[in-house]
């Protein structure tokens, strides 16, 4: 029987619920916006770290605690975490086969990204507030 076909998926694919999650475009755009944001931010922090060469602990902490530097650091961390979560997800979806392993890898990607991201944000805020 041939009901009106509304999509290009095979019947098997439809039953297994494979196919577009309808949220890929958002990730695609997010990937590019975070990339644009990180060009100046990453270059700034590269220079910042070079300038910190040989600095002692107090100097490093006070430089990072400067409000403008702290805010730039927060922006970079947020952009980087979004960007790398999407990038790694694409890599996993391309190369990791097998339903279970794929699910584990995709979930682990979220865990790693959020854990590293929140650790960085917490540290930057702590340094910025001087506590």
């Amino acid at each position: 029987m041939s009901a009106a076909k509304k999509d290009m998926r095979t019947p098997l694919g439809r039953v297994l619920a494979h196919g577009s999650a309808k949220s890929g475009t958002g990730d695609h755009i997010r990937q590019r916006i975070t990339a644009v944001a990180m060009v100046p931010l990453a270059l700034f922090f590269t220079g910042f770290l070079v300038a910190l060469t040989g600095a002692d602990y107090e100097t490093a902490r006070s430089w990072l605690g400067n409000p403008l530097v702290s805010i730039a650091a927060l922006l970079l961390v947020v952009a980087a975490i979004m960007h790398m979560r999407i990038g790694m997800q694409i890599v996993i979806e391309d190369y990791v086969t097998g339903a279970l392993l794929r699910s584990i890898a995709l979930i682990a990607n979220f865990f790693f990204a959020y854990a590293v991201g929140l650790a960085c944000l917490y540290a930057v805020v702590k340094i910025g507030f001087g506590v």
Binding site: T53, V91, V116
Partner: protein, 135 residues
């Protein structure tokens, strides 16, 4: 029924070894590998930030590891990976805007990205070593 499906001889899509290696292809593969490396590298950034937030003792531990020959090697690699992904990534942003999409222009900006990343890495570490008085 699935059993009734016959295996049909279809033309197969050529795989990697069929293609001549081009610079855009090599850069595409490298972009992913470097991206994955940077992904892991964020854990080091988190370590540095947490150490700085924690106090002089934790910071000293980080500094001793980062200052070792292996730590320095990782940091130099990190610098190159970051700049390579950054300059390589700008190509994708340009291509999104339909800039430099001809084969010749695509090759040219790929080489520019490679050279810019290497030159940037050399520049960064030349400044660092000269600030330390090593060179």
């Amino acid at each position: 029924m699935a059993e009734q499906r016959q295996a049909v001889e279809r033309p197969l899509s050529p795989h990697l070894q069929i293609y001549r290696v081009t610079i855009t292809m090599a850069m595409s593969i490298l972009h992913r590998i470097v991206g994955v490396a940077l992904y892991g590298g964020t854990a080091l950034v988190a370590w540095w930030l947490i150490a700085t937030a924690s106090g002089p003792d934790a910071y000293a531990v980080f500094q001793s590891v980062a200052g070792s020959w292996f730590g320095q090697l990782v940091l130099i690699g990190f610098t190159w990976a970051l700049l390579h992904h950054l300059f390589g990534g700008i190509r994708y942003l340009l291509w999104d805007e339909i800039v430099a999409t001809s084969p010749k222009a695509a090759d040219t900006i790929s080489w520019i990205a490679i050279v810019a990343a290497l030159a940037g890495t050399v520049l960064v570490w030349a400044v660092i070593f000269s600030m330390r008085g090593v060179i």
